[in-house]
């Protein structure tokens, strides 16, 4: 078993969890932590901005949409919250954003891409396309016990 000191030194694999009320107020802290950890893993600045935007987007969607309909809101005994886990591993960053709101059929949601939205000058619908564009993996899953989880993965490119 590694000693505390070994674990402490081994900074590239760490896990951070944050659970906040479901409110846009907290997103700036989430972004700040996110970019700090991405920097620690070694991502270049422009990819840090991308990761930050993708995660901000995932959380914004929880605040905006996940608890929107109280009919479909499956876990009514719990307070609406955002729960996020960031794992920094050597070579990649794994972020999971979890909510207990309504399920969303993410996989079959295939919106027009950013360019098509821009052609029509649409004022919204950029969130999910940006997330898919900026992250290497984007997966949504639903579970009766643990709620809905959006998993975002970004790999460090070898240079």
């Amino acid at each position: 078993m590694p000693t505390p000191e070994q674990i402490r030194i081994n900074k590239t694999t760490g896990k951070l969890t944050i659970q906040t009320p479901c409110d846009g107020f907290y997103l700036r802290h989430i972004r700040a932590i996110m970019s700090d950890l991405a920097r620690q893993v070694g991502f270049p600045e422009h990819e840090i901005t991308m990761i930050q935007m993708a995660v901000d987007e995932a959380c914004a969607n929880v605040v905006e949409h996940a608890y929107a309909s109280d009919k479909q809101w499956c876990w009514q005994h719990r307070q609406p919250e955002i729960r996020m886990t960031i794992r920094t591993e050597s070579g990649r960053l794994v972020i999971e954003v979890n909510d207990h709101g309504q399920r969303f059929d993410f996989t079959s949601y295939r919106p027009a891409d950013v360019a098509a939205n821009l052609d029509e000058m649409k004022p919204g619908g950029y969130g999910i396309p940006i997330m898919r564009r900026f992250m290497d993996e984007v997966q949504y899953s639903s579970n009766d016990h643990t709620g809905n989880t959006l998993r975002l993965v970004k790999y460090l490119k070898k240079s």
Binding site: D23, L27, R31, H46, D56, A60, K122, Y126
Partner: protein
């Protein structure tokens, strides 16, 4: 992590709107109500000075497109000024700079509205 700030000054027939800090889903309603207010007063020629902007999320980007579209329908436009490099790089990559005019000089941004 500066708080979002918005203010505005008149430059002839053009409204110069300065924004700073983070334009995210939390601060975004403040941008929206400020631009809506200007539209309601018949101002449709807007320059958004992004000099102090740290962050812009997709809701903010979408709003810029929506307001630019509406402004154009009233013979105006929404144009950007002083976009910080890290934000410029992202919005260029996404294609927003093909749809929105971006300027690096205030005088040029204001003059771009003058009839030739």
């Amino acid at each position: 992590m500066k708080p979002f700030q918005i203010s505005h000054t008149e430059r002839g027939a053009v409204q110069l709107v300065q924004v700073g800090g983070a334009l995210d889903m939390h601060s975004f309603p403040r941008l929206e109500s400020e631009l809506r207010r200007l539209f309601n007063h018949g101002h449709h020629r807007l320059v958004l000075d992004c000099e102090g902007l740290d962050y812009i999320g997709s809701a903010g980007l979408g709003a810029l497109i929506g307001f630019a579209k509406e402004a154009r329908e009233h013979e105006g436009d929404l144009r950007l000024l002083n976009v910080p490099p890290h934000i410029y790089r992202i919005i260029e990559l996404l294609g927003f700079t093909k749809v929105l005019q971006v300027h690096t000089e205030e005088t040029a941004a204001i003059a771009s509205f003058q009839p030739k």
